[in-house]
């Protein structure tokens, strides 16, 4: 039996990767010369009345200098990095994924291929279907280019940078085209490539930059047509709340595939950053807005790091030209017990080594130094056998010993770009509703109501959702409550207030869905293990039992789960009117895909109402479930031929009815799959000898599947299925207080 179990491990664990073979993706050697050069084909000339990125950039940089005293040159340079830098080599990462998933024999249908996306989804539908934002500097191609590719073209005159460094726009902001040095016109055929990309190299590779996820519609000046925004309708750091990351990868998959269900149920505006280096938890997290970074840094916290990490930080600061006490992560403590004063960048508070580390780390997630990164993945699709042999154990992306040695490595080059990017990120305040188109019509001018709202905020929210707080010497509860009230009622309470304490709070205190906080990628031995503080790791040492979780198989709240205590850091409430739905997983409140002021206000009202009145939430209906009968994709015909018994077993383990929780399957460690098979066989034979399995399987398959589902629940990494639960603070308020609080929060 053993070989079959092994085979099944392979089958399941490669689901997300779709291919079985151990192979290295092709990658040009650094400095390799292009064998074939060609001219990029521009679109029509830019019109005099059209604003280009260059003007958008200039206006923002000058504004930042004037309003905030930041260097316009630094802001502009940082903005270029934010918009177009792909960490040197991430186009190679995305090309590896194309070549991995673009083969004909990939029956999962999963295509990690941006070139296909930009060509197959019409410009007019990209935002509506996938939340992708069209680049105002591009126009639709009127005919295929010299290679038969119909990709949007940059308006002639809009390119104001070196395309070797920052690429040509693909038409989608954040996806940049780079001439592919491995392209061979003699081997090229566009039609063949789009049907079966395996092994073929396209003329352009596509790289991903930060804005792909982070740019969004400007709440103050949304476009009339979201498919055709101008630069004035966009803003670079709000976070793309409309991005359908899952569908961008999975829209074309057959709906009865669990992979489609997994991709389609990913909440808009979230990114599943532990998809590739998987933590075996389906836990996408919202793309954060980046507002008032300077005010946020005022509440940075001192955290312990290891001496090796301190040495690393010193070397990084030297490379980037930063002082050891820079405000993005001031080094302190002693040689033996060093510390860093840091903000908590990511939702789970794991990103805790300062702004420089947090920013470069993100580039690895986008594919920087991907060849080196793959080896830290628990499931490395290019080295499947090795992954199986080490039991799907992750490894650290080793910047202490390895990946920073070459001063010109993509990591080192990226490091040097980060200080200006940080300056750029400091250049955003919030978006006051009063300044939006018709914004004032949503604001009630009622001082009494506002006062009531402020008091409700002071008593229920401010202790976490404020970067200002009363003097810490006031400890008496009654006096402290009074001090909070005075502070919130003061006229300048909202000025320079990050509206978050930027602290980690245990989920046992917050009560929200625990899946994201339980992510393990920043723990020692995992991909980001060197990039999180010791304090973060120490805080997760305590084991706790979570009780009364919802059991989707029985419909009762009787599940118990043991695991490490874990955290969420407080999100900012700055411009909360514009950032619904809420919670770390964007699961709370209406998603309407409408970036107009009215659309945002509808979502805000709905989200806030559900926040404050939990019985109006979706609850059990927020569980991600299959929308159709779902089966395992018939993924590996070649594999099956080699293992005839596979067919005989009729292992349609995933023939689940409509409404089956997606996370039964998608939050499982692949190492458990042998147990699932064992459960299946047991369920079918029901006490009879196992050798009777082939004779019983046809009529008892249902019993087998039921047994598998039970096993899946038992072995689930984090069996917390209700997405929009918890954070019920304020639910005891009177209806009048709730309305007043909502009215006040429109001003954040």
């Amino acid at each position: 039996m053993k070989y079959r179990f092994m085979a099944l491990i392979l089958l399941f664990s490669t689901l997300a990767y779709a291919e079985l073979k151990d192979k290295k993706g092709p990658e040009p050697k650094p400095g390799a010369q292009a064998a074939f050069d060609f001219d990029y084909e521009f679109g029509r000339p830019i019109r005099p009345d059209e604003e280009t990125y260059n003007q958008y950039r200039k206006a923002h940089a000058e504004h930042a200098e004037k309003q905030m005293g930041l260097s316009a040159a630094a802001v502009g340079d940082g903005m270029d990095t934010w918009h177009w830098w792909v960490g040197v080599d991430n186009p190679g990462f995305w090309q590896d994924l194309v070549n991995l998933t673009g083969g004909k024999e990939n029956a999962t249908g999963l295509r990690l291929d941006f070139l296909r996306v930009v060509m197959s989804v019409p410009r007019a539908e990209r935002f509506k279907r996938l939340g992708l934002i069209n680049d105002p500097d591009t126009v639709e191609a009127d005919k295929p280019d010299q290679f038969g590719l119909k990709i949007d073209r940059m308006k002639d005159g809009a390119l104001q940078w070196d395309p070797e460094k920052f690429g040509y726009s693909s038409g989608v902001i954040g996806l940049q085209l780079f001439k592919n040095k491995d392209f061979d016109p003699k081997k090229w055929n566009a039609e063949t490539y789009l049907n079966d990309a395996k092994g073929m190299q396209p003329p352009y590779k596509i790289g991903m930059s930060c804005v792909f996820c982070h740019i969004g519609m400007n709440p103050l000046n949304p476009p009339d047509n979201p498919a055709d925004p101008k630069w004035e309708n966009l803003t670079s750091t709000i976070g793309n709340q409309y991005l359908r990351e899952g569908l961008t990868f999975g829209e074309t998959i057959e709906h009865q595939s669990i992979i489609y269900q997994y991709m389609a149920t990913q909440e808009p505006g979230t990114s599943e950053t532990s998809r590739f280096p998987t933590d075996s938890i389906n836990n996408p997290t919202n793309i954060n807005s980046i507002f008032r970074l300077r005010d946020r840094l005022k509440v940075a916290h001192v955290e312990k790091i290891t001496p090796a990490q301190a040495t690393l930080i010193k070397s990084m600061y030297k490379n980037a030209g930063l002082e050891l006490d820079n405000i993005g992560g001031a080094l302190g403590g002693t040689e033996k017990e060093p510390t860093l004063k840091v903000p908590h960048i990511l939702t789970d508070g794991s990103d805790s080594m300062g702004i420089l580390m947090a920013s470069v780390r993100v580039y690895v997630n986008e594919g920087l130094m991907h060849k080196e990164w793959y080896d830290s993945w628990p499931v490395n699709p290019w080295k499947m056998t090795k992954s199986v042999l080490r039991g799907f154990k992750p490894a650290e992306f080793d910047i202490i010993e390895k990946w920073r040695k070459d001063p010109n490595s993509p990591w080192m080059q990226t490091e040097r770009r980060m200080p200006n990017m940080a300056t750029f990120l400091m250049s955003y305040d919030g978006f006051p509703l009063a300044d939006a188109k018709n914004g004032k019509s949503y604001l009630k001018n009622n001082p009494k109501l506002l006062n009531r709202g402020k008091i409700a905020f002071a008593e229920n929210c401010a202790s976490c959702h404020s970067s200002k707080s009363p003097d810490s010497t006031i400890t008496d509860p009654v006096l402290r409550k009074k001090a909070w009230k005075e502070l919130v009622l003061s006229d300048d309470f909202l000025d320079h207030n990050y509206l978050s304490d930027d602290q980690r709070h245990a989920y046992s205190e917050i009560g929200t869905n625990i899946q994201r906080s339980e992510g393990t990628n920043a723990m020692r031995g995992s991909t980001w293990g060197q990039m999180s503080s010791q304090t973060y790791k120490d805080q997760r040492k305590e084991q706790i039992t979570v009780k009364n979780l919802y059991n989707p198989l029985t419909g009762t709240y009787d599940l118990e789960w043991k695991g490490p205590n874990a955290y969420y850091r407080t999100p900012t409430l700055v411009s909360i009117w514009a950032t619904a739905p809420y919670f770390h997983n964007n699961s709370l409140g209406l998603y309407n895909g409408d970036p107009s002021v009215k659309g945002r206000m509808d979502a805000f009202e709905d989200g806030m109402t559900k926040l404050l009145t939990p019985n109006k939430r979706l609850g059990v209906r927020s569980i991600k479930v299959t929308s159709t009968v779902t089966t395992l994709p018939d993924a590996f015909p070649g594999f099956k031929a080699k293992h005839p018994y596979f067919d005989e077993m009729k292992l349609k383990l995933l023939e689940f009815p409509v409404g089956t929780p997606v996370n039964l399957m998608m939050s499982l460690n692949p190492k458990h799959f042998p147990s699932l098979i064992a459960a299946y066989v047991k369920g079918v034979v029901a006490g009879r000898p196992e050798k009777e399995f082939p004779g019983l399987v046809d009529r008892r398959r249902k019993a087998g599947i039921e047994a598998v589902k039970k096993k899946m629940l038992e072995l689930n990494t984090v069996p917390d299925f209700i997405e929009d639960r918890g954070h019920t603070f304020g639910s005891d308020l009177s209806d009048e207080d709730k309305l007043a609080l909502i009215e006040y929060m429109k001003r954040f």
Binding site: I46, D156, G157, L159, Q160, P163
Partner: protein, 108 residues
Amino acid sequence: MKLSKVVNAAIFLSFIFFTTGAQAKQIEVQMKSISYSPKLIAIHSGDSVVWKNVSYSEHSASGETFDTSSVEPKHKSKAILFEKPGTYTYHCKVHGTTMNGTIKVESK
């Protein structure tokens, strides 16, 4: 392919032109969207080069020993005089080394 033909023709023509013993000349190079045309020119010492921006964005022609500074669309650069024989590579400050050109200066 096409481009190299153009370049070859330009070299050839300029070769013929200069070997006929003409006076010091001013040669014009066009700045296009993301390239110089011709990309490669051969001139004689004492000749000068002017870059004409026929594209829609600004460019420069910047080498180790010379720099036109920014040239707006529809404008021409100042003339740059080349006296010392040698090979001069240059690029655009806006578009980096992707937009590059070469001037071969031969002695008279």
